[in-house]
């Protein structure tokens, strides 16, 4: 193929752009952090109203992927104001002393087929534990959606102490669901 001298610079620009599609501008409107658990074997759901996320993800260069998500625990919405107040309290999140839950990625593994796994540290209520969060990556033009789910054991983080540590009422396993929508911007060099 013969490239005219007019189109050559454009071609190079496009080629350069395609190489470094890094999704790093989080769009809060398309993002959420939610949870699901069982209470007396009844499936329950809720979400967090406030969180901040910063990510950098280029599917071609996952070794440099980064994610940091901070959830404002007092913004919890369980569907019941009485429960929202209760879980903000000392026995649950103790939001006065520990207002945020934080996830910081330490690496991303490709599982194939647009599936990945984020490995990282999750900090809640002063406890830091390793988590593995599988997620899918869906790109639509300049925007990508990351959808993932992982579960944690609430007692590992002392979430629900005292009378609430009884697991026959509120189960130990809590599913965390997240969706992060991020737009692409040229990679910072």
């Amino acid at each position: 193929m013969r490239i005219s001298h007019y189109s050559l610079p454009l071609f190079l620009l496009l080629a350069h752009g395609a190489q470094a599609v890094e999704f790093n501008t989080v769009q809060p409107a398309g993002s959420m952090v939610a949870f699901a658990y069982k209470q007396m074997n009844v499936p329950m759901e809720g979400k967090f109203g406030k969180f901040s996320a910063s990510i950098a993800f280029d599917p071609e260069r996952i070794q440099s992927a980064q994610a940091r998500i901070e959830v404002d625990l007092a913004s919890i919405d369980t569907g019941f104001s009485e429960s929202d107040d209760e879980v903000a309290g000392k026995l649950w999140f103790n939001t006065k002393a520990f207002p945020v839950a934080q996830f910081v990625s330490g690496g991303v593994k490709a599982l194939g087929n647009n599936r990945f796994e984020a490995l990282g540290k999750l900090t809640i209520k002063g406890r830091v534990l390793d988590v593995v969060a599988p997620f899918t990556f869906k790109q639509e033009g300049r925007v990508a959606v990351f959808d993932g789910t992982f579960s944690l054991k609430r007692l590992d983080y002392a979430i629900g102490e005292g009378i609430w540590s009884d697991l026959s009422t509120v189960a130990n396993e809590i599913q965390i669901k997240f969706r992060i929508t991020a737009a692409a911007a040229p990679a910072k060099k």
Binding site: Q39, M40, V42, M44, E45, E86, I163, D166
Partner: protein, 185 residues
């Protein structure tokens, strides 16, 4: 063929089982409603729902029974208008035995809490999550329950009046022990 003088064993069993369950479910509802949030309260609310769904199922069984059986005639010393009033009251009681559990189930769905009968069988949500609707249904559930208590009060007063004042067989027809009539099943 002489007409049955008593309710069948099935009808009697269902009647008294329902009465017993309501005697547990109603005060449990009032008690748990006043409790502060705790695992104990969550357990009681679950038990309340299981009891309520059981009452609902028993009411369906009773209606099925009723379709196949006419109730035994009342003593003919009771004036016709009173017999009609009793019938009307029974119909209202049947309606409430279905509608109260339904209002509880609707309330649960609207509040975003599926009903899992006995912790094992998840019932379908009747409506989507809607906070305002949930609160309205809570009020309706409460109101219907006080309506039920009023009607049950009249029902019991009438049964006792017939037994102790009129000294007729109205109550005996519904009691599990006593001389057996025909057509028992």
């Amino acid at each position: 063929m002489t007409p049955a003088t008593r309710y069948t064993a099935t009808a009697i069993a269902l009647h008294w089982l329902t009465a017993l369950l309501i005697a547990a479910t109603f005060p449990l509802g009032l008690y748990m409603h006043g409790l502060a949030l705790s695992p104990f309260k969550l357990q009681l609310v679950s038990y309340h729902k299981w009891l309520g769904v059981t009452i609902f199922l028993l009411a369906l069984a009773r209606l099925a029974w009723r379709l196949g059986h006419a109730p035994p005639p009342l003593p003919d010393t009771i004036p016709a208008w009173q017999q009609r009033a009793a019938q009307g009251l029974h119909h209202l009681l049947y309606v409430l035995l279905l509608v109260i559990p339904l209002s509880g189930w609707l309330m649960s769905s609207a509040k975003g809490v599926p009903v899992v009968y006995l912790g094992m069988v998840q019932l379908p949500d009747l409506v989507g999550k809607d906070k305002a609707l949930g609160e309205m249904l809570e009020g309706i559930h409460e109101m219907l329950n006080f309506g039920l208590m009023g009607l049950v009060g009249m029902h019991v007063a009438a049964a006792l009046k017939h037994h102790f004042i009129d000294k007729d067989t109205t109550l005996l027809r519904m009691l599990p022990f006593g001389k057996r009539g025909n057509h028992e099943n």
